[in-house]
Amino acid sequence: MTMAENSIYGLMAEYDNPDDLLHAAQGAYAAGYRKMDAYSPMPIHDLSESLGYDKHRVPFFVLLGGLLGACAGFGLQYWVSVIEYPLNIGGRPFLSWPMFIPVTFELGILFAAFGAMLSMFILNGLPQHYHPVFNVEAFESASSDGFFLCIEAEDPQFELSETRGFLEGLHATKVVEVES
């Protein structure tokens, strides 16, 4: 490890279309690189998987939220209408369960939606006010038409000149250092 290496976050290679990026990512993973990430203006199928990031955790939170909401909804109505303040409403029984379904359902949906949104934010570590990749001049095209692969310095295999050569090998149009 040299001083230079400590001062940088990693190496960023730019590609001019999704397929090259995907190809490069798969190549890098095959070469044993692990600490890396790819950037694109739109989702590219299989890209995250080819980087070894293939777990789906969002669905669990959605299910959890949904169940919580539904229980909360029905529980609220049951408690209010049967326990806390039972009233004779038009001769209907205190537990008129069919009439409690809509609220139960709506609250389930609401909590599930929160589950999806929040888990996405948390798992992606958003909101995030700073990230080294933004130091790269060209990176601003990552949100319109640029495709990037960045291998991070922390990767045990990372070695500045080697890695640079490796990336250029995977037809990158340009490879730059990313200051941390």
Binding site: P18, S81, E106, I109, A116, N124, V133, E140, A142
Partner: protein
């Protein structure tokens, strides 16, 4: 920038959903230019008009809060009037947005990509307008808000959960929240684009905050796609439930003309019908003004017309069923209700409704009509009016002559009614105009997905990977 391979024409293929020659670069430039370009005089005039309309709302509400709902045409037996009509009308309009962004997403209808953003915006503003009416239709919003929400209080009194109006409160607020979340989720990457495209520091800051540090990493996309897929998944039953619950407001009641099991499907179909009409009413001018013909193509017009035609037929079936039940139930009340609709004092409203919602949409069988923006615009206007009349028929015509002939009476709309209605139209338009100006009208990410990729021109991106891994 490598320009994509040319699209080879295939006569059998449907019209393209993306104009030829569009690249990632051109898409981004074209769409974000609507925002980054200078404010036009036309836009300022439009906003001024919308603001003017909105004043009617302020006026109407002030008057209402001072005097009470007596300023409307309400009476006994017609306890509900324009407030509820407009509420249902707006909610219905909102539904198209969710339908396009959720249901069509699940169905992998890629043609939706260019209209969903703007349809979702429409949903948000329509629901905002809709929510005004339940809030104000008691004439005392302070107590309404105070008693309708469930919260622990010293009196130990709670809402009455058997009432469809309480279901409404939950359904509509959930619907609004979820739509907002879904909409924002879709906007995050586009905000990132705008952040990076922004020239001024201030706009860079604002879009930066809105983009919450999005950098389009593979991991981001990984969770992002799953989240939006699931949101779409839960929005679908939600949107269906919301209008079903709105229809319960009526079908749970025992008023002849309300108490019908057909209502939920009939209302949902009506909502989609009305929603698509409104999408076209707004979309066609925007497409013309901002020259978005490459994004909102003939194929879109064609498909939307087909959806309208289909849902329109369901609505027509609903009207037919009401007639059938009136006869089949052999209930004198139902029978009289139907006679009264067709030959009673409100027959004009009924027959105009049939004209607008049943007869006019039949022109959509003709392809040339489906592809002609002007014709479509006229048809969609008819439908907007027709769907309002439908709610008038359901609310007023049913109530004004129900069980006790001794209590029958007429409903006459008043200035108060008009002010609030015109006012919400103002709010809606204002919202839309501001939206057009500060947010990408079209979802850039999803449009990018439509750009043909190396080797497999027309095919959408979803199965690209197989090709890649095959190499």
């Amino acid at each position: 920038m490598a320009s994509p391979a040319p699209i080879q024409e295939d006569p059998t293929a449907p019209a393209p959903v993306l104009g030829p020659g569009q690249t990632y670069t051109t898409i981004t430039q074209k769409i974000s230019s609507i925002i980054t370009s200078r404010t036009t005089v036309g836009w300022i005039v439009a906003v001024a008009l919308a603001l003017g309309l909105m004043q009617c709302f302020l006026l109407g509400v002030t008057w209402l809060l001072i005097k009470g709902v007596g300023i409307w045409g309400l009476n006994i037996p017609v306890g509900w009037g324009w407030a509820i009509i407009n509420f249902v009308w707006w909610i219905g309009i909102g539904h198209a947005g969710t339908l396009i962004s959720a249901i069509l997403l699940l169905m992998r209808q890629d043609w939706r990509n260019s209209i969903n953003r703007f349809a979702e915006a429409m949903t948000i503003f329509a629901v905002i307008c809709a929510m005004q009416f339940p809030l104000f239709h008691t004439g005392r919003p302070w107590v309404a808000a105070y008693w309708l929400l469930p919260y622990p209080n010293s009196m130990g009194v709670w809402p009455q959960f058997r009432s469809p109006l309480i279901w409404d409160v939950f359904a509509v607020s959930t619907y609004f929240t979820v739509s907002l979340l879904f909409w924002y989720l879709g906007l995050i990457p586009d905000f990132a684009t705008l952040r990076d495209k922004a020239k001024k520091k201030i706009s860079r800051m604002i879009y930066g905050v809105l983009a919450v540090g999005w950098r389009g990493s593979a991991k981001h996309w990984h969770n992002y796609e799953m989240a939006s897929l699931l949101l779409a998944g839960i929005s679908t039953p939600l949107v269906l439930s919301v209008h079903s619950i709105v229809s319960f407001d009526f079908s749970v009641g025992l008023v002849p003309g309300w108490h019908a099991t057909i209502f939920p499907p009939y209302f949902v179909a009506g909502a989609v019908f009305a929603g698509f009409a409104m999408v076209l009413t707004l979309g066609l001018p925007i497409r013309a003004i901002y020259g978005l013909h490459d994004f909102i193509t003939d194929r879109h017009l064609n498909n939307m017309s087909k959806v309208m035609l289909a849902t329109g037929l369901v609505v027509a079936y609903g009207y037919g069923m009401e007639q059938f039940f009136a006869w089949y139930s052999a209930s004198p009340y139902e029978g009289y209700m139907m006679q009264n609709r067709m030959h009673g004092p409100y027959q004009f409203e009924y027959w105009s409704l049939i004209l607008c919602n049943v007869i006019v949409p039949q022109f959509l069988w003709i392809k040339s009509v489906r592809l002609n923006p002007y014709a479509l615009f006229v048809v969609s206007m008819f439908i907007n009016v027709g769907m309002w009349l439908e709610r008038f028929m359901i609310v007023v015509t049913s109530l004004h002559r129900d069980y006790m002939p001794s209590s029958w009476d007429m409903y006459h709309s008043t200035l108060g009614d008009w002010l609030l209605y015109a006012g919400t139209i103002g709010i809606f338009l204002l919202g839309m105009f501001l939206f057009i100006r500060v947010m990408p009208v079209i979802n850039m990410v999803e449009i990018r997905l439509l750009v043909p990729r190396k080797g497999h021109g027309k095919k959408p991106d979803h199965d690209a990977s197989t090709e890649v891994s095959a190499e």
